[in-house]
């Protein structure tokens, strides 16, 4: 067993265990922290796959952005220290069952499937390559999605501002 393999399994275990903890702990802050761990674990897997750029993005956006956002929202909406309410047992079991069935189904299909594979030469996911493509308009260029996302982010921003910056009190 090579070192890479060991690292992989450790990363995998870390990610999954964190994920399970993130959805099961009754302390909301711990959940946020476990989410953070999971995201870092996923980033680790990207590193493991030598996709450095995406790993970096993962860390910056998720860890630096989204998690912080979530923690802020927890601060805004939650009295700290209170335990999360427990879901009904029936719902829990049913959800677990549904999730497991889905998982089993997908894994079954995935493992039965023999994937095709390209024979063409790989493109290295370097920052330069990515940057060129990102703003390219020709074959393999992603300028259009880039523009779309930018407008989307603008729209999301406007939406957030309008909704969150409400002035009048609620009348129900």
């Amino acid at each position: 067993m090579s070192g890479s393999t060991i690292i992989f399994f450790m990363l995998a275990a870390f990610t999954l265990i964190s994920a399970v903890m993130a959805v099961s702990t009754r302390h909301i802050f711990r959940a946020a922290i476990f989410l953070l761990f999971t995201l870092i674990g996923v980033a680790g897997l990207y590193f493991w796959m030598q996709y450095d750029f995406i790993a970096a993005v993962q860390i910056i956006v998720y860890v630096g952005g989204i998690t912080v956002l979530i923690i802020f929202s927890i601060f805004l909406t939650q009295q700290a220290g209170e335990l999360l309410p427990k879901q009904k047992m029936g719902r829990q079991i049913f959800s677990a069952l549904a999730a497991f069935c889905g998982f089993a189904l997908i894994m079954l299909q995935v493992y039965q499937h023999s994937f095709n594979q390209t024979t063409a030469t790989a493109i290295e996911p370097t920052v330069a390559n990515i940057g060129n493509r990102m703003l390219g308009v020709n074959e393999g260029g992603y300028a259009l999605p880039f523009e779309v996302v930018s407008i989307l982010l603008l729209a999301a921003l406007i939406g957030c501002i309008v909704i969150a910056m409400r002035s009048k009190p609620v009348t129900s």
């Binding site: 719902r91 549904a98 889905g102 189904l105």
Partner: protein
């Protein structure tokens, strides 16, 4: 060939009276309606007489045989090639004879009603209806096409309905007119199906063609009709028997007679016209019209004769017990028509065999005279007494002498006392029966004795018996001239009509039939008739308690006869209990609850399901997501594993 136009006018003039008086009468002819109607009918009668003269003495006879002439025919409705309703005029001895009878009796009634119905609120309507009836009856008798006959048959029925229901605000009249219509309609169902059967096998609706196709031995139509059978009876028999049912209904034959006594709710002149002289003999006329076809089927003739004779006897027995004078006359009518009917039944076709046919028609003719007379006379009595019940009458001979004499003539005629008209016709009928079927002959003989008895029972009860106590201004009882003239004219007919050599004109094959007079044969019926008369005289000439005693001694039988052998009750049972409760009510119930219920149930089930499944939309977003995932998994499994 006769001129079609004026023959057509015979029925059309009364129709014109109907339209004119029906539409404008109420406003414009309030008082003159009677005169208008009578005048139009007078013209019509004159034309009918002229036609009869022409037919019998001028153009009708070719080579010694009276022809069936069709001076007018118009294609009214074409069903399919060869099968059409043609409205036309068929002249043959019986139709010409009927033209005369109908117009004459109708004219008498028109005239009589001028006085009798005077002052009625719906006077114009009355004359309009009379016109409609006369038109329909005339149309019926001249029909050249079996469907045309059916058409006028129905019209006759409806005009009878209208006239019986003339006093529409009397519940009893309403019930009577409904009953008359419905019972005859029920019979007409048989007629209609009979027409369908006959027309299918003969391929035509035209009388002449139909008779020709179904009687000539070599015709293929006849062979098929005889060969085809249903329930073991040949199609031909079915056809004519069904047609006969129609005739039996109209002619009040057993067991379809129940409407006739009730029909006396109509004004009395109407009873004279419709329920004595004309409409009720339509059944006889129908059988006579199709007689050649009937004669091809022995079972059918048997049925006709037995229905006829049993009705005759049955009605005669009931007539002996009734106290309403119009009802007595009604049952007597039924009895006499039974005579005509069985006369046809015992007749053969052609030559000497056709005696029954001639006798029947002869009796029809004479009966029209004396029965109309009886009714009109009874009308005069009722007009005077304002009651139909015998117990309110008695000793009227002093107050209404003319009525008395004419009534007596009519009674003698119907009783078969020579030389009055009834004697001759009844004699021939009995002779025909005697030659054919002795059982029927004996029954007929007894019935004719009974006839004499109940007629004179009526006569004595009205004009003799107890003395009448005049009340108030009822000093002289006779109606005016308008009422007396018809009585007198009819009395002449009733007295003298028997001397017409009827066989010369009317016979089953158109050739003259010499009727011989058998003196020795007449002894028995005349004797029986006289016996009946004297019995009646003994019982009823003066007031005594003998009738009551006899009634008591005949207890059960008398009661049954008095209650008309419970036929009405039987019908009540069938209609109310069976038709209404067992068919009508369930049908309505099924419609409300099953058919409709199914539709409503579909609606409410949908609503219920809609209510039941609302839990899916629980408002819980997580549950939505679970359903979402479940849907995804279900679809995936379905399409990966099951539905490839």
């Amino acid at each position: 060939m006769p001129n079609a136009t004026y023959i057509a006018l015979i029925p059309l003039l009364p129709l014109a009276a109907f339209i004119l008086l029906g539409i404008f009468g109420r406003k414009h002819f309030k008082n003159s309606a009677g005169i208008i109607g009578t005048f139009l009918l007078l013209v019509s009668t004159a034309l009918a007489l002229y036609t009869a003269y022409g037919y019998f003495f001028d153009y009708g006879k070719v080579n010694g045989v009276y022809q069936k002439l069709i001076p007018l025919q118009y294609n009214w409705l074409q069903f399919s090639p060869g099968l059409s309703i043609d409205i036309g005029i068929l002249l043959d001895p019986i139709s010409v004879m009927m033209l005369v009878v109908v117009t004459f009796i109708s004219l008498m009634v028109h005239i009589y009603s001028l006085a009798y119905m005077k002052g009625e609120e719906r006077f114009p309507t009355y004359y309009a209806f009379l016109g409609l009836f006369t038109f329909s009856m005339l149309g019926l008798v001249v029909s050249s096409n079996i469907f045309q006959m059916y058409i006028f048959w129905e019209l006759v029925g409806v005009s009878s309905f209208l006239l019986i229901g003339y006093y529409y605000d009397r519940p009893s009249a309403v019930a009577a007119c409904k009953k008359a219509f419905i019972v005859t309609r029920f019979a007409d169902l048989g007629f209609l199906i009979g027409i369908l059967v006959l027309s299918f096998y003969s391929g035509t609706l035209d009388f002449n063609t139909l008779i020709q196709r179904l009687t000539s031995p070599e015709s293929s139509e006849l062979k098929t009709a005889v060969a085809a059978s249903f329930l073991g009876v040949s199609a031909l028999t079915w056809g004519v028997v069904l047609v006969f049912i129609g005739g039996a209904g109209k002619s009040a034959m057993l067991p379809l007679h129940i409407w006739l006594p009730d029909a006396m709710e109509g004004p009395t002149p109407v009873s004279a016209l419709i329920h004595a002289a004309t409409m009720v003999v339509a059944g006889v006329f129908l059988v006579a019209r199709l007689f050649p076809v009937f004669s091809m089927s022995a079972p059918a003739l048997e049925i006709v004769s037995y229905v006829g004779i049993s009705s005759a006897l049955f009605a005669a027995i009931i007539a002996c017990t009734q106290t309403d004078i119009k009802r007595v006359l009604a049952y007597s009518t039924m009895s006499q028509i039974g005579f005509m009917m069985f006369a046809l039944g015992v007749s053969g076709s052609g030559g000497e065999n056709g005696l029954g046919f001639t006798a029947s028609m002869f009796h029809l003719f004479t009966h029209a005279m004396f029965k109309a007379l009886l009714f009109l006379g009874a009308g005069a009595v009722i007009h005077f007494i304002h009651s139909n019940e015998m117990k309110d009458m008695g000793g009227l001979r002093k107050y209404m002498p003319i009525t008395h004499i004419t009534f007596l003539i009519a009674c003698l005629a119907i009783a078969g006392v020579p030389p009055f008209a009834g004697f001759f016709s009844k004699e021939e009928i009995l002779l025909a029966a005697y030659q054919h079927n002795s059982f029927i002959y004996w029954i007929a003989l007894i019935t004719s004795g009974l006839t004499a008895f109940y007629m004179f029972r009526l006569y004595f009860n009205i004009f003799w018996n107890k003395e009448h106590e005049p009340q108030g201004e009822h000093h002289h009882g006779e109606g005016g001239f308008a009422m007396m003239m018809p009585l007198l004219l009819l009395a002449v007919g009733a007295a003298a009509a028997g001397f017409i050599p009827f066989g010369h004109f009317v016979s089953s094959d158109g050739a003259a039939l010499e009727s011989e007079f058998h003196f020795q044969f007449s002894i028995a019926p005349v004797a029986l008739g006289l016996m009946g008369i004297f019995t009646a005289m003994w019982l009823y000439k003066t007031k005594n308690n003998k009738p009551d005693k006899i009634a008591v001694s005949l207890n059960g039988f008398y009661k049954a006869a008095y209650h008309k052998f419970y036929f009405d009750e039987l019908y009540q049972l069938i209609t109310k209990k069976i038709i209404f409760n067992l068919i009508g009510r369930p049908a309505a119930w099924i419609d409300k609850n099953v058919v409709d219920g199914f539709v409503n149930a579909t609606g409410s089930t949908t609503q219920t399901i809609s209510e039941k499944i609302k839990g899916f939309q629980s408002g819980k977003v997580q549950q939505y997501a679970i359903y979402f995932l479940a849907g995804v998994i279900a679809l995936a499994v379905l399409f990966i594993y099951v539905w490839k």
